[in-house]
Structure formats: structure tokens, C-alpha cells
Amino acid sequence: MRNEQDIDSPTLAARFFAQVQVVGIDALLVGTSFLMVEFLFLAFSGRRSATGLLLTAEGILDLLHYGWIAGAAVLVAIAWSATHGIFGTSPGRAMVYGLAEEERDLPWSQTFLGWFVAILIQLTFFSGWLITELDLVSFLTKFSKAADILNGLMHPQASILHQGAVLLVQTIFLAFMATAFAIPVAFVLSFPSARNLTRGTWASRLLYMAARTGMNFVRAVEPLVWALIFISWVGIGPFAGVLALWVHSVAALTKLYSEQIESIDTGPMDAIAATGATTLQILRYGVVPQVIPPFLSYTIYRWDINVRMSTIIGFVGGGGIGYILKPRVDLGEWGEVGTLVLLIAATVWLMDIASAKIRERIV
């Protein structure tokens, strides 16, 4: 029986923290919208730089008054927080506490929050258009150059077929080795990365934190960057590509595996624990049988991704078919590029079908 007084009421510290969150989120959003307003204002003011040219988007971004705007945004956020009775719920308040009762059923056009979000979206599109230098004119009028490339792609040349096929084999093995070596490491790491297995002791909680943080960092770095790191370590070639995909796969698989472990039925674990089994036996009997099929499914999915990645890892020197693709793109040998692109497309397509079929069987 859940009694109200049994559950701790939020402490002063917790309430303060929530308030800081509200103001922080609001300041961020208000500040962003102020910056975009200033950006658009400068962009349409016709101001020129010292060299007399019209300001580029980057040039304008350099000129914005970040400090002043941040200060103003914080003031506005605090003011909104103090007056939310009058101006309605702010975005930050809505995220932390939810919408106020009386605002739930109102259409967006009748709340301050609704207008704020609508204007924010508009501003984002307008400034985004300028910042990414969207250029419809070029897009619609300068197709002829690209037509050469497309033409080349349509007429693949057999001259490179042999070399391409050989490197394709290397590409597939590259993906295979990276995935295969990632499995045991990710398997072992996934247990300390699962929340439900690491609640027991302080040591296990620390292990969880370490494993999670490490894996998140590794995953955040793209495989192409890992490839550059490993190329300077073991030299240009497929081995660097294997290592790059391996590191990234370990992190990705650990996350997928551990999420699977977190969603298991804990009943069998309890039952095995109740027989007097050791921790390893509990994992072997109570956890492993439940997670094997989803693990297999994720692993095949990962191999699929790795095959795609391995076709471009060669762009930076990581071996595989990308290694001969890059120079041909640079030289404009579009016929040969066409051959290689077709080879890659066929492989990825076959992998897709195979992996979907196998995964269907397992789950």
C-alpha cells in the first residue's frame, strides 16, 4: 500500500534544480531566437565587409552579439518564469513540469507558448536557408555538368571490373572481421553496461558508469575518424579499416545488447538465484538464454551496416573498394566510377536481403 507520506516529497535542492532547468531551457530557446533575429536583420541590411563584398553567412555569424544576447535571454527567461501566471507556461516549464491544466485544451494560437514555438520554427527555416547557402538557381540551371557524371555512371567500363571485384571481396571480409571480433567484446561489456544488473553494489554502479560513458564516447566518434586514427597507428590498408569498424561496432553492439539485457524478464533470474546459484550461473541460466536471439539479430544488422561503411572507409585509406573509388572520382573517370558504384550497390542490396531474411528467421 502506497502512502503519500511514505514517498519523499521533493526536497528544496530538487526544486531548485528543476527551476534552474526551466530557466536554462528557456534562456537557450529565447537566446537562439534572438540570435536568429539578429542574423536575419544583418543579412537583409545589405551590410558589406571591409573588402566591400556582401557579407557571407559565416561572416554574419561572426558578427552576432553572443554575449549581450545570452544576458538578455537569461533575463527574459527569468522574467517569464516569474510571470508564468500571466504569460502562460514557458517551453522550459512545459518540459520540466508539463503544461498548465488550463492550457492543455487550448489551440496553439491562443497561448503565448504556441506563438513562441511557431515563430521559432519560422526563424529556424529562414536562417537555415541562408546559413546552408541554399541556391535554387544553381540547382535548377546548372544540371549539364552533372549530366556528364550520370552519363558515365550509365556506361560502366569493364576495365576496372576485375580489380573492383577483388577489392569487393576484401570489403566484405573487412566488414566480417570487424563484426566478428566485435561480438565477444560487446557481449562481455554489455553485462556491466546493463542498468538492471548493476544496482547491487557501489562497485558495480561505478563499472556501469565507466562502461556507459566510454561506449558513448567511442560511438560518438565516426568510423571515418577512427580510420584516420588507426591509419596513423598501423598504416594505410584494410587492417586500419577493420580496427575502425571494430571499435565502432563494439560500442554500438554493447549499447544494443545491454538495452536488450535491460528488458529481460527478471523472473527466471530470481528463480535461478533462489537455487543457490552463483552470479555467473545466474547470468548463464537466467539471462543468456533470453538474450541470444535478439543478440544474433542485432549482430547481423550490424554486419549489414559494416558492409556499407567498409565501402567508404577506403576513401580515407582504410582499405576495401573505396580505396580505388576515390582517385577515380578525383580524376573524373566516371565510367569506371560507374562500375564500382554498381558493384557496391549490388553488394549492399544483396546484404540487405540476406540480413532481412536471416533476422526474420531468428526473431
Partner: protein, 263 residues
């Protein structure tokens, strides 16, 4: 090995209290004893603390107050291998059976022997021939002699609970805990499972602590009962002394002792 001179109770629970990490108080000052050979039923509404109480006895949970003695030995603060030794002596079956669904029935029964198995072979799912023979004997005993090779989830609910009983017997336990063993079974199958437990109790003298919320089952199988309400022990006595007034005491004034409850 164990002191059992008839004076020492099988289970002695003293002033037991449990507060979950979230702050929910599930047990408060619960004290009672279970004599050797008794079939003690724990009654109470759902949420009254029955599962919590049973889990404190084999220490799947760490109680926050009070103590539990099993055959005179304090078990409240056991850790590591001593805790595992305690669990080997106390078997448990669950409302949801809690079999390892993707493994065979045989492996499920054998897992009852994990506490006395060597680590490495057990991690490879291999067991000595003697254990396999014993597991087969228990499967025969619960009426499933030829289902050893089936996957556990291919069995019906009643069959799964019988496999769970076989797994529990595999522990060769001194105590048998059952947490609402028939609550998720078809009413027609409830007595079959309860009779298996009754036989263990009556014919082999195994001490049973079993939570139930069906009055009919309680009065038919238990030798004595205790009742929990909001985590407190509100009544204990013999089945024949259980009456209307006590029923309302436990289940609230609104409750009706329908004799067909659950049927």
C-alpha cells in the same frame, strides 16, 4: 548437520520490517514461527506484502529490520557463499513459474542442482549422470516423464508449474516456499498443483510456507495460517478457527467471502 530437536522452529521471523529503496514500506514488525513439518499459509490482499515476506526468508531481498532464523541459524545478514548455502536448503516456486523458457525442461530441472554443481561444467550446461538420473526421477514424480526434451515454453501453465516443482525438489530442500503457486493457473488445475505440494508436506515432512489468496485453498491445504494486511501481521490461527469476522478483518468490510471466489 542441522539442529532439529523438535524445539527449534523451522522458520522464526522476528519483528521483520522491509522498506523498499523507493520508500514504500512493505512489511512492519512481522513476527511468527513455522514449526517443522507445518504447512503455513500466508493470506492477504494483493499488495499486502506476501511476496516480500517470502523473499526475505530466502534472502532474494534484504530485510531492513528484524531477523529471520532458519532451523535456529540467523540468516538475515548472510552474504556470498554462506547466502548461497542457505538458498540451497530453501526451494521456491513462483506465481509466474519463472522457468527459463528457451531451455529444455530437463535443463530447467537440472538448474535446481546448480548450488552443488561445479562451476565450469554447469556454465556449459553439463551435469553428472547421477544428477540427470535424479532430475528424470523428479520429472516422473510430477507426471512429466517424457517431456524432458521439450522446450519449457512449449508446456502448458500447469505443466510448467510442475516442472518448477521438480526444479525445487532437485535442490533436496529442507524448506519449501511457494508464492501464490496457483494464482495464474486455470481453476481446474489448481488442486492438482496444490496436491503435489500437499504430498511433499504430509508424506515427506517438508515444511511449507505458501502464500495464497484463495480462502478455499487455504482452509483445505494449510495446517495453520497467518494473515497480512498492509505489511502487518493481523491474525494467526488454525483453519477451523477462521471465520467471517476474521475475513473482514483481513480483507476489509467491503469484502464478500464468495465460496466460488476465482472459480
Amino acid at each position: 548437520m542441522i539442529v532439529s530437536d523438535g524445539v527449534v522452529p523451522a522458520i522464526e521471523v522476528s519483528d521483520l520490517g522491509m522498506v523498499y529503496p523507493g520508500g514504500v514500506r512493505a512489511l512492519k514488525g512481522v513476527s511468527f514461527q513455522v514449526e517443522k513439518g507445518e504447512f503455513l499459509a500466508v493470506l492477504g490482499l494483493s499488495g499486502s506484502g506476501k511476496s516480500t515476506l517470502l523473499r526475505c526468508v530466502n534472502r532474494l531481498l534484504d530485510p531492513t529490520e528484524g531477523s529471520v532464523h532458519i532451523f535456529g541459524e540467523e540468516v538475515t545478514a548472510l552474504r556470498g557463499s554462506n547466502l548461497r548455502k542457505l538458498r540451497c536448503r530453501v526451494a521456491m516456486i513462483f506465481q509466474q513459474f519463472n522457468l527459463v523458457k528457451r531451455q529444455t525442461v530437463m535443463t530447467n530441472v537440472l538448474s535446481g542442482a546448480l548450488g552443488r554443481s561445479r562451476l565450469l561444467p554447469s556454465l556449459l550446461l553439463t551435469f553428472p549422470q547421477a544428477e540427470r538420473a535424479r532430475a528424470q526421477a523428479y520429472l516422473e514424480r510430477v507426471g512429466l516423464p517424457d517431456r524432458g526434451d521439450s522446450r519449457a515454453d512449449a508446456l502448458s501453465g500447469g505443466q510448467q508449474q510442475r516442472v518448477a516443482i521438480a526444479r525445487a525438489l532437485m535442490q533436496e530442500p529442507q524448506l519449501f516456499l511457494a508464492d501464490e503457486p496457483v494464482a495464474s493457473l486455470d481453476p481446474a488445475l489448481r488442486h492438482s498443483i496444490m496436491r503435489h505440494i500437499e504430498i511433499l508436506n504430509r508424506e515427506e515432512g517438508l515444511t511449507v510456507l505458501c502464500s495464497l489468496h484463495d480462502i478455499d485453498l487455504v482452509t483445505r491445504y494449510a495446517t495453520r495460517l497467518i494473515a497480512l494486511r498492509d505489511g502487518e501481521l493481523v491474525w494467526q490461527g488454525l483453519p477451523e478457527n477462521f471465520d467471517q469476522g476474521i475475513f473482514k478483518e483481513i480483507y476489509g468490510q467491503e469484502a464478500e467471502p464468495a465460496s466460488n471466489s476465482g472459480y
